[in-house]
Symmetry: C2
């Protein structure tokens, strides 16, 4: 058996068409062009490259974009005041603060200062907390509106759009990062999956992974999860981005695991392309909420 | 074998002595008496009784206390303005808003209005989010100061003060409430346990529970967890409060399970007495943080 691909390129491409329709609707109904402001400090190459990618995406989708590129020497107070100014600017609907921040700047102070309503990357503690507090889907969430980090949101979208049953299923998440593993756990819990959160201290990780109906990898170790870790017929979601001999590979040994799993995300072309589209989806949601106040 | 008791009465009594010393230290060093304000609306008997219990505890410990008992007919706006006033009152260090709130008042609006710095019950989304984002203990937390809900904090304290090893252990939590199950999962994850979150949709719950090194019950179903669900030597923490023929019982069938477990919390006298003492601990922490600003 060869697993069905959870094809993030195809799905993100389809979703971009949906987003274009929503962008047009927002412009028509609310008379605004959704705008994202990206704040970065210093010249970390990955951060610069990601900020530029967001800018290109916005240009393609005819969304408004502001780059706030601050020097490495920017102080915490100056960065804070920039964030506060963007919070207050009614023309800006979503704000993304790129990490890493320069040494000496406390990331938590900057994140706390962000308006949760504009935090389309879902990094403010209030957004993390609302996701964690929210009731299962299908009931009233019981919390104020919130944003989910784009990467796990994209993984969930891939599962749901491919009709993967989640209710009562056993989901194993390998990796407990605040931007992928932990929010993915909360998302799957809301879908009524039973969730196991694993990490570097987990005893007998392969045996736990073999129980999974849905196996999510977000550790950052190339091809760590091999076919013998996977239950036949499991659905495998790979959030890993690693490089081996300049080739991008995931946390899952795709070649082997695709022979065991029923569905699997490729790397590249799986969860990666979904992240960008989910970030835009959050931006449009932010613009709608702010426009409807 | 009969399990060792995780005796919440004994531990909370010992901790009250520690708290008394800390109260005296705060009065001497900061020149303030820590004060809690309890806000309730309507006459829900459980809510009235809990508020009165907090008041008695404060009197015994010579802490300051304010009861804000509002009528059932109070509107959302009036309740909000009361919360804002307490946020701004420098004499009030901790605020607890009792649920249930009267119909027509959106609990999430009131909770969101609470100052996270005075939210000693750990219900504000920012506190929930900081707990969820925090790095494992022993590293820098990487988040601003936060408060943990008293009930799961008390369960963890019972485990730690009895020397229960958590690092790398498998913890199973039955129940995904926002005040017990989910924060307990995050607390145990920070202690490097592997965590399984189970709930009403979980398939083959007994088999999952039998894997647990540490089994936490927070479902609200009398004696649901029986001896055959428990691995010999497991540590069992029972957060359940149920009544059978007017007798208080937990979610765990204590009589049977104590023959299998290595340690177990009794009900009553286990996690219950810890809640009150952890709430006071949070109050003192709040007073210190506010006094040191």
């Amino acid at each position: 058996m060869t697993a069905q691909l959870l094809d993030g390129r195809a799905l993100s491409s389809a979703m971009r068409k949906e987003l274009d329709a929503e962008i047009a609707a927002i412009k028509a109904e609310l008379g605004v062009t959704p705008k994202i402001a990206v704040v970065r400090a210093g010249e970390d190459p990955a951060s610069v490259s990601y900020a530029n990618a967001i800018q290109r995406t916005c240009e393609l989708r005819k969304l408004a974009f502001e780059m706030h590129a601050l020097p490495e020497e920017v102080g915490e107070a100056e960065l804070l005041s920039r964030v506060v100014r963007l919070n207050e600017d009614p023309g800006v609907h979503g704000i993304m603060i790129q990490e890493p921040l320069p040494k000496g700047i406390r990331a938590e102070v900057i994140t706390d200062a962000l308006s949760p309503a504009k935090d389309i990357d879902g990094v403010h503690p209030a957004n993390t907390g609302r996701l964690a507090q929210a009731e299962p889907v299908g009931r009233s969430a019981g919390v104020s509106d919130f944003f989910v980090p784009a990467t796990p949101a994209g993984g969930l979208e891939l599962l749901k759009r491919h009709g993967v049953a989640l209710n009562g299923k056993l989901a194993v998440i390998v990796g407990r990062s605040r931007i992928v593993g932990k929010p993915m756990a909360m998302l799957l819990l809301r879908e009524n999956a039973t969730v196991i959160l694993c990490h570097s201290r987990t005893a007998d990780l392969p045996a736990i992974c073999r129980q999974a109906d849905i196996l999510c990898a977000a550790v950052g170790r190339a091809k760590m999860i091999t076919a013998d870790w996977v239950k036949p017929g499991a659905v495998v979601v790979d959030f890993g981005v690693n490089f081996q001999n300049e080739v991008m590979v995931g946390d899952v040994d795709f070649e082997g695991v695709q022979e065991v799993a029923s569905m699997i995300t490729p790397v590249p072309g799986g969860t990666g392309p979904m992240t960008n589209v989910m970030l835009l989806k959050n931006l449009l949601e932010a613009a709608r909420r702010q426009g409807q106040k």
